[in-house]
Amino acid sequence: MIEEDRHFTAELAVIGTGLAGFAASIFALKRNIKTAQIGNTGAVAYTTGYLDLLGSLSPDYPTSIEDPWQGIEQLKSSHPNHPLCRIRKTDICTAFEQFTSFLGECGIAYTPPGKSNLSVLTPAGTLKPTLCIPSTMKVGSTAFSQKEPCVIIDFKGLKGFSGRQVVANLKDKWPRLSSSRIEFPDMVTGEIYPEVMARSLEVPATREKLAKILVEAAGDVKIIGLPAILGMHAPDLVRQEMEQLTGLQIFEIPTMPPSVPGIRLREMFEQLFPQKGVILVPQQKVDKLEFIKNGAQLSLSDSFGPITIHSKSVILATGRFLSGGLKARIDGINEPLLNLPVTQPDSRREWYREKYTDYRGHAINSAGIEVDSSFRPLDTRGQPYSRNLFAAGVILAHQDWIRGRCGAGVAIATAYKAVEEVEKLLR
């Protein structure tokens, strides 16, 4: 069969479709940099939708911190190599502002970055600190802080979200919280998923049916919390209409993965980026990355055949183990695309502490690649691997994003910085 080779050219190739990769493309769009983005389905679909900057100074200070900006200052003395310590705070703030305003312009409104963290609900009804949240979740944060009467609704057949559990975990802090279990309209019996309910709520008739059930479940209470199911691609409109139909204030709580807020983000990026001029090759991994004169050549294949991309610069945002940015092998951790040196414990025995839940964390979680002050990955000699290569996101060493509650912060801030450096190189 005669096949045509597909070639694309770009000024920037972003490798990775997680938060860091998408953030990099957003910042590149803002700077009119012609961008191609490639990546296998990232972990974006697993996110709660919350955008953390810094929620804990673990292990030195394992409890939640209220002021992430002050937290970064403290981090500078305890962990000067932490990626967040290598970026100016004004840049971090701008990065969050640009990122959240882009999401808002594209139909998923977010709260802008504030001076302090918000205290928000997890699917289990515990609390966590975060910087920016989807607007659909905002009422919950306010209702909690003011201890307003509220009903948490859950659904028959929905696993992984229990109103009773949320209430049980919060009853000491939120006395007038109660729960109610209802049936989702027109859903056949059996397991139902938040994604299915969210898509169903894009149909006006379903919204009307659910509104009637919600009014009954709320009784005299005027605020209700739902698992995140308020539509997939226009959540703010769905929430607004549900509020109008019920006369109630409604907010969402993230659910266990697969969680709707994450799927919302991924579907939005995948739809809008091509429309905005990004050459997006989703669901694929780059097979080979070579640096040639004044740029790089990326080789990959999708279901239709081989693709070659020539780009003047590259941002490596391939994530950690789940996404394949790092690989754990019997003889150590490596970076599979370019075989960049990975800062890591001397031996496998030091990867983990004895107890998985040890608040001090595990050494393996701070492993990653090293970069210079321009976020260029370093080779074995400590020199930039290529002047055209930059890195962003949690592939970077010296951060433990889970314990530090800083995953989005590292992703967004380092993507901003890397794109800024790309622009310097290009212009």
Partner: protein
């Protein structure tokens, strides 16, 4: 490739048991092992077949890992999965359940498989036409000639129109879904008119002209190979540069995938008509516009899995939207959610329409019905016959008020050349626009 499992020596009506875990290791590419499954459930969460026959993609994988081979080998769910590959598309580990579903289907004894799919495959094999409706070559030639003569006679603008047959060296070898010559021959005419207007050098073939291929869906790999061989030979014989696939999704996929899978020598390119609609509009050869739609009738599109997610990806999805917007006006196009490669299968794919499992098929199609309803569009455009039939059926079943139209119909409507007998799928609102 077909695994007989432990079936040898069993009675004909027993479904042999497959060792799925072992087979998965053979079939799946490196790094896509089922052991990599995180059990996150993104596959099941976004699969319209989840819950049917008490099964879903995640459960299928877990059961395979647990060695529950007998249960999986006999699960009717494999006939409700349309092999649309959405599960793989959303899976962070890129695990492809559809390959195991194909394996399971092929393992069912012929007499136990859904008879509608088996019959369609047998009919394809029964003539040189490769038609799933069994229309022999001479009948196809006759119908084409008969319809052409009538158009030339009754529509003066097209008195010289051609529908070439077996023209050696033509640029395009055009295939045809059997539904048109068999059941609604006037539906071929808009396509001929489009070729006439753009001056395309094209031909039908009396042999292997048909598009559909249910042998793949029946899990009959050998029959699938035979059908593709006939089609490849026919194109090679006529020396055409391009095998142009009409508005039919799976025909493209079975041919494209089959040629690669069976390592056949094909001296031609495979292209979709959608790509050419877009090209001809961009080049000004097909001077469509949306002025006819002054009443702002709203349209959406259904991305056929077989040509979008499973084959071309974004480029054809983009072409489809470009063509639609050109035809109906940008402001009258409402995209379905989700869309493009993330789109949901309508439930007409994988042979589901032919499988006789009507209740399951409609349960599956309810998601699509909701997605269409959410757009509020009056019409769905889709370049796929199975999508077309399924969306019509679920529309009637669930009380929808939308219509489903072919691209060729709307192109000719926009150009003011849609004949009276070519308006089957137009509702009163569109008829008023003529």
């Amino acid at each position: 490739m077909i695994n007989k499992g432990s079936g040898s020596g069993m009675t004909k009506t027993t479904i042999p048991t497959i060792n799925f875990k072992e087979k998965a290791e053979e079939l799946l590419p490196e790094g896509a092992s089922f052991e990599a499954c995180l059990t996150c459930g993104l596959c099941s969460s976004g699969c319209p077949a989840s819950g049917i026959e008490n099964m879903d993609p995640r459960k299928f994988i877990r059961m395979a890992m647990l060695g529950m081979d007998k249960e999986l080998s006999t699960s009717k769910w494999v006939w409700a999965c349309t092999q649309c590959k959405r599960c793989q598309h959303v899976c962070p580990m890129s695990i492809d359940v559809s390959q195991l579903v194909f394996l399971a289907r092929s393992n069912w004894p012929q007499e136990k498989k859904p008879s509608g799919i088996v019959r369609s495959c047998q009919l394809i094999q029964s003539t040189d036409s490769t038609s799933a409706m069994g229309l022999p070559p001479e009948d196809f030639v006759f119908v084409v000639q008969d319809v052409l003569e009538e158009v030339r006679e009754l529509q003066p603008k097209f008195k010289n129109m051609q529908a070439p047959m077996d023209k050696k060296g033509a640029h395009f070898f055009v295939n045809q879904n059997s539904r048109e010559p068999m059941s609604e021959p006037d539906e071929m005419v808009p396509l001929w008119k489009i070729f006439d207007i753009v001056g395309a050098d094209w031909t039908y073939s009396s042999k292997a002209w048909a598009a559909e291929n249910f042998c793949m869906f029946s899990g009959n790999e050998e029959a699938w190979r035979e059908v593709i061989k006939k089609r490849v030979d026919a194109v090679n014989e006529l020396g055409c540069e391009i095998w142009l696939n009409t508005e039919c999704g799976h025909s493209y996929y079975t041919m494209w995938n089959g040629i690669n899978r069976f390592g056949m020598e094909a001296d031609f390119k495979l292209e979709s008509l959608v790509t050419y609609y877009a090209r001809w509009i961009r080049e000004g050869k097909l001077p469509v516009n949306s002025e006819w739609n002054s009443s702002n009738i709203k349209f959406t599109v259904q991305d056929p899995c077989m040509i979008v997610r499973k084959a071309y990806g974004e480029s054809i999805a983009e072409d489809m939207r470009f063509v639609t917007k050109s035809l109906v006006g940008e402001e009258n196009f409402i995209d379905m959610q989700p869309n493009r490669s993330a789109n949901y299968c309508c439930g007409g794919g994988g042979g589901f329409l032919q499988a006789g499992m009507t209740e399951h098929r409609r349960t599956y199609g309810k998601r699509k019905f909701d997605q269409i309803a959410a757009t509020g569009a009056s019409y769905v455009l889709t370049p796929c016959h199975n999508c077309h039939s399924q969306m019509e059926d679920i529309g009637h079943h669930f009380g929808g008020s939308y219509g489903v139209v072919h691209f060729w119909t709307l192109i000719c409507l926009s150009l003011g050349i849609l004949g009276e007998n070519e308006r089957t799928y137009l509702g009163p609102d569109l008829l008023e626009c003529i």
